[in-house]
């Protein structure tokens, strides 16, 4: 937008004006400080872009074309907002639109498969059913598939049974986008997946103080697991193939979970966390799916 200005090279004297009693900031000595701001005098040369409008007005005046009331009100523009999440290029004209976008798409994201869920509860259910190999094992012996409707509380042996329940009792449409196994995803889905892949690529430099995070997460997860109602509602996944039987599903699931589980247990740095419960879990890298269960190192 702006041409590079001629920034006056700073002479050392200017940093320490005599007689001025302001404190010097010790920032410069701090190791690896990434903040670069320092006050700068800006000298603008004659042809600088910033001077364009004023020059035009001046010459309009010289040529007897000046009028004090502008014909058209020059447009004063307001800054746009943009989602800066890596790979997301959405732009918004108001802060509210931005917040809506962010809260809808970037808050509840599964670390492993990078899928975005509309709510924390659905994210939890998703992680549990898709990326937890323990779930697969338990599901062989007991009803593990939760009803997606908040407060219903019923559980089912297979996802199909849950789906039937949702349609019959809770009046969900039959073509509602239920969980779909990975292999069922068509090209459409893979395209979306690719997008999300790039979206979630984040440098490893992000997660460093994992230790701190784990400690805090410990503290908080204990608090949370007692009665904090987290909304879970598995969402946009597409309907599973009606015919796949439970063992196949479980095999798929466990394979998927196993695969995911391997990568997650092997990686010493969990990649990132979008799963931030309504209370705080700060510190990057709190991987929700593995907190409080196996995979978290004690």
């Amino acid at each position: 937008m702006q041409q590079p200005e001629s920034v006056r090279p700073l002479i050392t004297e200017r940093h320490h004006p005599t007689g001025d009693t302001h404190e010097r900031r010790p920032r410069e000595t701090e190791e690896g400080n990434p903040f670069t701001f320092s006050p700068q005098l800006i000298h603008l040369h004659k042809d600088h872009e910033l001077f364009e409008d004023g020059d035009i007005t001046r010459h309009m005046y010289l040529q007897d074309l000046y009028i004090s009331e502008a014909d058209d009100k020059p447009t004063l523009s307001v800054s746009e907002f943009a989602c800066h999440i890596s790979g997301c290029s959405a732009v918004f004209s108001t802060l509210e639109e931005y917040e809506h976008h962010y809260n809808s798409l970037h808050r509840h994201v599964c670390c492993s498969c990078r899928r975005s869920l509309p709510s924390a509860r659905l994210l939890d259910i998703h992680i549990q059913e898709w990326h937890d190999s323990l779930f697969a094992i338990l599901a062989q012996r007991q009803d593990m598939y939760q009803c997606l409707v908040e407060g219903c509380g019923q559980k089912f042996r297979t996802s199909k049974l849950r789906k039937d329940h949702l349609i019959r009792l809770h009046k969900y449409p039959p073509d509602f986008r239920f969980d779909k196994t990975k292999k069922d995803r068509g090209t459409r889905e893979t395209k979306r997946q690719q997008q999300k892949d790039t979206a979630m690529e984040v440098a490893d430099d992000v997660c460093e103080s994992e230790g701190v995070c784990e400690v805090m997460c410990d503290v908080l997860s204990n608090q949370l697991e007692h009665g904090e109602s987290m909304e879970t509602h598995v969402s946009q996944e597409e309907a599973r193939m009606a015919k796949s039987d439970s063992t196949e599903e479980h095999a798929d699931l466990s394979a998927a979970a196993h695969g995911a589980g391997n990568t997650s247990t092997e990686s010493t740095k969990p990649r990132y966390s979008y799963r931030v419960p309504t209370s705080v879990c700060f510190g990057h890298g709190s991987v929700r799916g593995f907190r409080g269960r196996r995979g978290r190192r004690k």
Binding site: D20, P34, T36, F37, I56, A70, S77, F81, V280, H284
Partner: protein, 507 residues
């Protein structure tokens, strides 16, 4: 002398143009000027109208114009008693561009004019210079250089006493200046700068002439290579002090002379980064005190017509002079700390109508606050910060400059940071961090850092406002240097146990 308020009204009835057509023409003209500026070819000429004229009348019939000129020329070559009338007719005919071309094609036409210019008949001299003036205003590139033989005389006449005549000489010279390098070289060699200096000195009381000198000088100073030759000569002359003394507008005569001189000073200050000569003349002091009074007038609603034509170059002078001013001299050179009040008043007043002027005001504010604790303190004392924070939504360079100024304040003292946080800068940053403009985001992170490290209260307040999840999100920013800033803040300054503990206890 230029009558600002008269320009529009008459033009409305001209040639049956509707208001819409006029608007269109004006917009086209503006577009052409912008393109010319981009090509570094922004040049304007001025036409001094006759006493009986209100606006430039151009005859539509070019053929007869050309014929008139040729026949008048032939008649003037003969001796006779009708010379004054014929010269007057010639000057009128020369308003037409094709007639101008026809005239200079005639052999010895310039020789004839110079003869009248230097003759003993004063009326003929006046008419001759009027002819030259029309020629100097020509849009054709080979017409004006044809006037060169007359320039030594025009320069000599600058020390004369006839107002109208001197004005015409000046505007003619001013129109010739930007024509070509050859013309400029000749004029410089013929001593245009000392001539202008003498003229403005001797005619100080005559504001119409002063305005004309200012215009002509501004034409010289706008040249592309002015910094090499012209500007040093001007700085060495007595012109700077005269220009400064004219800056205060005369209430009766109007703004015009001050406007011209202010633009001269702008061209002087922006062409070089070393402005010690002008600083020694007290330019910064003069310009800033003038801005203080203009700002006060604007704040009260006294917006005289054309005021921004004066405010604009003054802002630029102050901005660029500041960048040359040693910090120790700031208090003497700037003088009145109320300059910050004036700047904020200008910002608010022109934000909607002339955003570019608001942007330039913000730039000056940055330069004022960069190295002066006193001026930063003044912004806080005069309670100007909330108003500045409210300007952070506005783009096109306004918010980045204002945020820089606020950052300058934060950079001075931790106490300032605390105050800034109290005044709402923290919550404003939570919004600016989400803007599309990367420069805003980076600046916002840096300011946030300064605020947060200023004290635990600020850090806690930030956490209370949901800052932690905001920073967590920023950790996934597409730009690495922004991610690092967020991580650094979280790790080193916000995850300290006291902050967390306080937060948890308050849950």
């Amino acid at each position: 002398m230029w009558r600002l308020n008269k320009v529009r009204h008459k033009a409305a009835g001209r040639h049956g143009d509707s208001l819409e057509e006029l608007k269109l023409k004006r917009r086209e003209h503006e577009r052409a000027l912008r393109q010319a500026r981009r090509d570094r070819q922004l040049v304007s000429k001025r036409l001094l109208l006759n006493e009986d004229e209100d606006q430039p009348e151009v005859t539509m019939d070019t053929n007869s114009g050309e014929q008139d000129v040729v026949s008048l020329f032939h008649k003037l070559q003969q001796t006779g008693s009708e010379r004054e009338a014929r010269l007057k007719a010639l000057s009128k005919a020369l308003r037409d561009p094709s007639a101008q071309l026809a005239f200079i094609k005639q052999e010895n036409s310039m020789h004839l004019l110079v003869g009248f210019l230097t003759g003993s008949d004063a009326t003929c001299r006046l008419q001759a210079v009027r002819c030259l003036h029309e020629l100097s205003h020509s849009p054709h590139t080979n017409v004006a250089p044809a006037c060169l033989p007359a320039t030594p005389y025009l320069l000599t006449y600058l020390s004369g006493q006839s107002t109208k005549f001197t004005e015409l000489c000046l505007y003619t010279l001013g129109n010739l200046c930007p024509e070509s390098d050859v013309v400029k070289e000749k004029l410089l060699a013929q001593g245009i700068i000392p001539a202008l200096a003498n003229c403005i000195e001797n005619q100080r009381h005559n504001l119409a002439v002063v305005e004309a000198v200012g215009f002509t000088l501004s034409q010289l100073l706008q040249a592309k290579d002015a910094a090499e030759k012209i500007i040093p000569m001007v700085l060495a002359s007595s012109l700077p002090s005269h220009l400064l003394s004219v800056l205060t507008p005369d209430p009766d005569f109007g703004l015009a002379p001050a406007i011209e001189c202010a633009w001269c000073l702008h061209y002087l200050t922006c062409s070089t980064e070393d402005n010690r000569v002008l600083l020694a003349h007290g330019a910064l002091l003069k310009c800033s005190s003038l801005l203080v009074s203009l700002g006060a007038a604007v704040a009260e609603g006294n917006k005289e017509e054309g005021m921004e034509l004066l405010i604009c170059p003054l802002l630029r002078c102050v901005g660029n002079l500041l960048s040359s001013c040693p910090v120790e001299d700031l208090s003497t050179q700037v003088g009145d700390v109320h300059i910050v009040v004036a700047l904020c008043a200008l910002l608010q007043a022109y934000l909607q109508t002339q955003p570019a002027l608001a942007r330039e005001s913000a730039w000056v504010l940055n330069n004022l606050t960069a190295y002066s604790s006193a001026l930063c303190s003044a912004l806080l004392t005069f309670n100007l910060v909330p108003g500045l924070i409210q300007l952070l939504p506005f783009s096109q360079g306004i918010n980045t400059m204002i945020l820089r100024a606020l950052a300058n304040i934060a950079h001075k003292k931790k106490e300032f940071c605390v105050q800034l946080a109290h005044l709402g800068l923290l919550s404003a940053l939570c919004a600016t961090l989400k803007m599309a403009d990367q420069e805003m985001v980076t600046l916002s992170m840096d300011v946030l850092f300064m605020l947060v490290v200023s004290g635990p209260q600020v850090a806690e307040e930030f956490v209370r406002q949901g800052g932690l999840s905001l920073l967590e999100a920023i950790q996934y920013n597409s730009k690495g240097d922004i991610r690092r800033r967020a991580t650094h803040l979280l790790e080193h300054h916000l995850l300290s146990y006291s902050v967390v503990k306080t937060y948890l206890l308050n849950l």
